[in-house]
């Protein structure tokens, strides 16, 4: 299995570099529309108009474990939202469930305020560790959504069934919700309660849509190419199984 992993990695690397160079040259073409990501800047603007804060959750996962990539997807969106929030002087409250995410999230928000020449605008309590247990974390976020008026809640990362405690509270309170998750058992719950959804691998596309860096666009295109290769392989195997 390790050998297969190495082969896949070595095959993907040149494709990634090739597509990134095409993106750098402006030949990447148009990315397919993802309404959830396209609406994020509007949420910050609405929050600036109403003066009510924006909530962002990066899920119940941490950095260094099996959920690192999902958590990272949430942190990528945090980078973009923190930049826009700092530019508009919009209050942003970030909740995390794992202590390893806390310093990274705090640093991302702090540097966003520094970049926009407003270091005093950052408060370390903007980023809050709620609880390491998923259900306790969900209960803490529920309380936050109940007690404080929010314009919108963006939740992108690793979530389980406990998501519904937060999602339903947000929906009941009329908070606009943009939610992205990867667990197929959580996705129906997300679809039921959120206004905009990022399903499965769409959460990893955040950087390509918001920051538009060539490597991120190249990465997204590589993912699409690889998906077509997998689909073709499945079809070929299915045809062979039918024929033989």
């Amino acid at each position: 299995m390790k050998e297969i992993g190495l082969v896949v990695l070595l095959l993907l690397l040149p494709i990634l570099f090739f597509l990134s160079s095409r993106a750098r040259a402006g030949k990447a073409g148009r990315l397919r529309s993802l309404p959830a990501l396209e609406k994020l800047p509007g949420l910050v603007g609405r929050s600036a108009e109403t003066g009510q804060p924006l909530h962002l959750s990066v899920g119940v996962g941490g950095l260094g474990g099996a959920t690192t990539a999902e958590t990272w997807a949430g942190l990528t969106l945090l980078g973009q939202l923190a930049d826009e929030a700092a530019a508009c002087d919009t209050p942003l409250i970030v909740t995390v469930a794992d202590a390893t995410v806390l310093p990274v999230a705090q640093d991302i928000v702090r540097r966003a305020y520094l970049r926009h020449g407003n270091p005093d605008g950052y408060e370390s309590t903007q980023v809050r560790l709620i609880a390491p247990d998923p259900v306790a974390y969900a209960a803490g976020v529920m309380g936050l959504l109940e007690r404080q008026p929010f314009t919108a809640s963006v939740m992108v990362g690793s979530f389980g069934d406990e998501y519904l405690l937060m999602g339903e509270t947000g929906a009941r309170r009329g908070v606009r919700q943009v939610v992205g998750a990867t667990d197929p058992r959580t996705l129906p719950l997300v679809y039921a309660s959120a206004d905009e959804t990022l399903i499965g691998e769409e959460i990893f596309a955040g950087g390509a849509y918001t920051r538009k860096l060539p490597i991120q666009i190249g990465s997204l295109l590589t993912e699409d190419w690889a998906r077509w290769v997998v689909i073709a392989a499945i079809l070929v195997v299915a045809v062979f199984k039918i024929l033989l």
Partner: protein
Amino acid sequence: MTVLRRTLPAALAIATSLFVLAALFITNPLLDAIGTYFIDTAVIIAAFALFLGLFNVLRVHARKIRERQPGSLYSFVLIGAMLVVLVIGLPPIAGKPSGPSHPLIQWIFHNIQAPIQAALSALIVFFVITAACRLLRVRNAESALMLIVALLVLAGQVTIGLVPVLPAIREWILDVPAMAGVRGILLGVALGILLTSIRLVLGTERPYSD
């Protein structure tokens, strides 16, 4: 200064991740030892993040109490409970279990924390019902399709043998389109994780420097 702030952290992160990756793919005692050392170091550093978390919780809730924000009573209870557990669990007792194994801490876990968590988990059932009601309101073609499929699956579940074809339809929906969708999502997620990891290893995304 730029070297210290940008280049050095990035170079260290890339070199470390490449070593760990190489140790995963290549069987070599030296590489294995270096890879294990880096992973152990990361675990120890991550443990220190717990202290940052503790101070963050204290700061957030102390501020709530100081500013008498809504729900500050809960913050008071949280800080009180946290200090009680720390005071009971921290001092080492010669020859007796301490920390999480201390009998009083065990009692708190079994009689306070576990029942509260169980109660919260039970709440999810009621939230599922309200979410299902919201989901079943037809908003667009996707919702309509979802409503039809959900009704077919429910009917197949509770038909009690009256309409023999319904359980077969339910089985087919769960085994073919639903399973295909789940596998498609999982394949996409796996590719997304792989490419995100490559970007991190290559140092193109650096949360640790500007």
